[in-house]
C-alpha cells in the first residue's frame, strides 16, 4: 500500500514568484514525516506539490521531479486526478461535505467518481474506514446524520476516514490539529501512529511537541526574508533534529528562540 517518495531539486512557482526553492528529500514507506518551520516558509506549498493540489491556484507550477515509487508526478501526460487518488490529503480546517450524511461523506471518494459499489461493500467500507479513523464507536448509531453535526475533532477524523476510504498510498496532512482542542489532537495523533502501519504520512505542523511525538523524520523549512523563496534547511531523524541538529537555525527554531 505505502510507497516511497523521492523529491529531487523541486522549485515551486506562483506565476513568476519562486515560493519554494531547491527541495530534495527521500520519504520512506510507512513512516511519518513532519514538516516544520515558521509561517510562510513554504511547508504547505511543498506538501501540496506532492499530490499536485497546488495546481488549484492559477499560475502555480513546479520544476524538478517528485517520484512515487519511481513514477514522476510531473512527467508529461500524468493525470493529476490519478495522482490524487493515490496521494490523499487532510486539510487544516475540517471540511466534510455539508450536503452529505456521515456515511455519504465516507463514501464520497467512491460515489463522486460515479463508481458503482454494492450496498454491502459500501457498508463494509464505511465501517472499515470509520474504524481506522477511530470514529466508528462514536457515530455508528447515526451514520445518516449530516457530517456537519459532529464536533470539530470528530469532523476532522471523518475527513481522515474519507481520505483513507479511497485507499491511497500516501496521506498528506496540512496542520490537521491546528483547529482542534488537546483531546481531539491526542485522538488524531494516536490515529496517525496507527495509520503509519499501512500508509506513508507527511504532516505539516506548527506544534513542535506534536512533530517530536508523531514523526520518524522531521524536515525544517525556513525563509531568509519576505519575498524570498522558502528552503529546506535540514532533514533528519526526528530525535536528531530535536536533540542535536546540525544547523544553528534548526536548533534556534526547535528550542523556541524564534518562530
Amino acid at each position: 500500500m505505502s510507497k516511497r517518495i523521492e523529491v529531487n531539486d523541486l522549485n515551486v512557482y506562483y506565476g513568476d514568484f519562486l515560493a519554494v526553492e531547491g527541495v530534495s528529500m527521500q520519504i520512506e514507506p510507512r513512516t511519518v514525516t513532519a514538516l516544520i518551520g515558521p509561517s510562510g516558509c513554504g511547508k504547505s506549498t511543498f506538501l501540496r506539490t506532492l499530490n499536485r493540489m497546488h495546481e488549484v491556484i492559477p499560475g502555480a507550477h513546479v520544476t524538478g521531479t517528485v517520484r512515487i515509487d519511481g513514477n514522476d508526478l510531473y512527467a508529461p501526460g500524468v493525470d493529476p486526478v490519478l495522482v490524487r487518488r493515490q496521494v490523499g490529503m487532510v486539510f487544516q480546517r475540517p471540511n466534510p461535505f455539508p450536503t452529505m450524511s456521515i456515511r455519504e461523506n465516507v463514501l464520497a471518494g467512491v460515489k463522486l467518481n460515479n463508481r458503482k459499489i454494492s450496498k454491502s461493500d459500501a457498508d463494509a467500507l464505511v465501517e472499515r474506514s470509520l474504524k481506522r479513523a477511530n470514529l466508528w464507536k462514536e457515530v455508528q448509531d447515526r451514520l445518516e446524520k449530516p457530517g456537519a453535526s459532529l464536533s470539530g475533532g470528530q469532523q476532522q477524523r471523518l475527513c481522515i476516514a474519507r481520505a483513507i476510504a479511497v485507499a491511497p498510498d500516501v496521506v498528506l496532512m496540512d496542520e490537521p490539529c491546528s483547529a482542534l482542542d488537546p483531546i481531539s489532537t491526542l485522538a488524531i495523533e494516536d490515529l496517525i501512529e496507527e495509520l503509519k502501519q499501512e500508509y506513508t504520512i507527511v504532516i505539516v505542523t506548527h506544534n513542535m511537541q506534536q512533530a517530536s511525538r508523531v514523526s520518524d523524520k522531521t524536515a525544517f523549512f525556513n525563509i531568509a526574508g519576505a519575498g524570498m523563496p522558502g528552503r529546506l534547511i535540514e532533514f533528519d531523524d526526528t530525535t536528531t533534529m530535536f536533540s542535536r541538529p546540525s544547523v544553528q537555525a534548526t536548533e534556534d527554531y526547535v528550542s523556541g528562540k524564534f518562530g
Binding site: V81, R84, R85, P98, A108, N114, A148, S149
Partner: protein, 366 residues
Amino acid sequence: MSVSIGGRTPRKQASNALADAQLPRLIELWLLIAAAIVVGGTLLLVGFNLAVWAVLTAVVYVIAIGVASRLVENRRKAVDRVVRALVTIAFLLAVIPLISTLWTVVAKGIGQLNWTFITQTGAAHFDPTTLEVTTAPGALQAVVGTLEITGIATVISVPIGLLTAIYLVEYSLPSSPLRRIVTFLVDVMTGIPSIVAGLFAFSLFALIVGPKAFSGLSAAVALSVLMIPIVVRASEEMLRLVPDELREASYALGVTKALTIVKIVLRTAVSGIVTGIVLAVARVIGETAPIFIAASFTDNFNANPLSGPMQTLPVLAYTGYKFPGHDIVASNQAAWGAALLLVILVVIFNVIARVVAQFFAPKTGR
C-alpha cells in the same frame, strides 16, 4: 456619594451605581396613544384628515419621546428612542404602498375570481335572436399563455444562465478578457428596458417567419433576454459562496473537475440557485410590454406557442382596461381578476421555491 461613569452623572441617586433612571416600560405605547388623541382632537377643530392626522401624530410622537427620554433618562437613550421611532416610521412608509396595492388587487379581483373564470376562455357571444352581445368572463387562455411563455423562457434562460455562471466562477481566470467581456455584457443586459427586448424578439421572428410574427415563442425569447442576466447574476453569487475548501476536498479525493462542479459545487449551491431562478421568473412573469409586442393579445384560446397571438395575464389586465370589449364593466373586472390571479401565481411559485430550497439546503442539525 456621587458616582461618575464616563463623565456622566446619574440624575437620581440610585442605590445601584450602574443603574440609571428609566422611563416606564410601556411609555412608547402610551405616548403614541396620547399623541394620536391630542393631534386628533386638535384636527377635529380645523377639519379632520386621515393622512394629516397620521403624519402629525408621528411628528409629535418623535418629538415627545425624545424630550421625555432626554429629561428622565440620558442623551444616549434619547437618541436611541428617536432613531428607533424614525426607523419604524420609515419601515411603515415602505410597507404602505405594498399593502395598499395588495389590498386593491384583492378587493377588486376577489369578486371576479372563481373556478369558471380560471377554467373558461373569455369570449363575447352574439345572440342572433335578441341581437345582444354577452361577454363571458374567462382567463383560461391567459393562464395557459402565461404558464407556457414563462415556462419556455425559463427553459431557455436557466441552462444558458447557469452555464455562464459556472464558466465565470469555475473556469475563467480573474484576468481573462472573455470573463470581463461576459460580465460587462451581463451588466448591460440587466439594464435593457423590457420594451427593447420585446422589439428585438419580434423583429427577430419577423425576419424568420415574416410580418405576422406574433407567437408565444417570440414572447418567450423576449422574456429570456430579460431573464438570462438575472439568472447569471444570482447563480454566480451562489457559486462564489461555496467554500473553496469543499472543492479542494473533492479534488484531493481524486474527483475530476467536472464531477466536482456537478456533485459538490452545484449540489451545495442548489438551494440558493433555485431561489434566484424563481425570483427571475417572478420578475418576468409580470412583464406586459414585451409580450404585448411579441405575442400580441387575443381572446381566443391558443395553446400553440409556435404560431398565432397568445394571451397572458398581465396583457389581459392591460387590454381589459385599455381596449375593453363590448361590456366595459366586465372587461375591467376581468382585468382585476387577471391581476389577482397573477399575484397568486407568483405567491405559489415563491412557496414552491422555498420548499425546494429547504429540501436541498445543507443540513447542520444534530
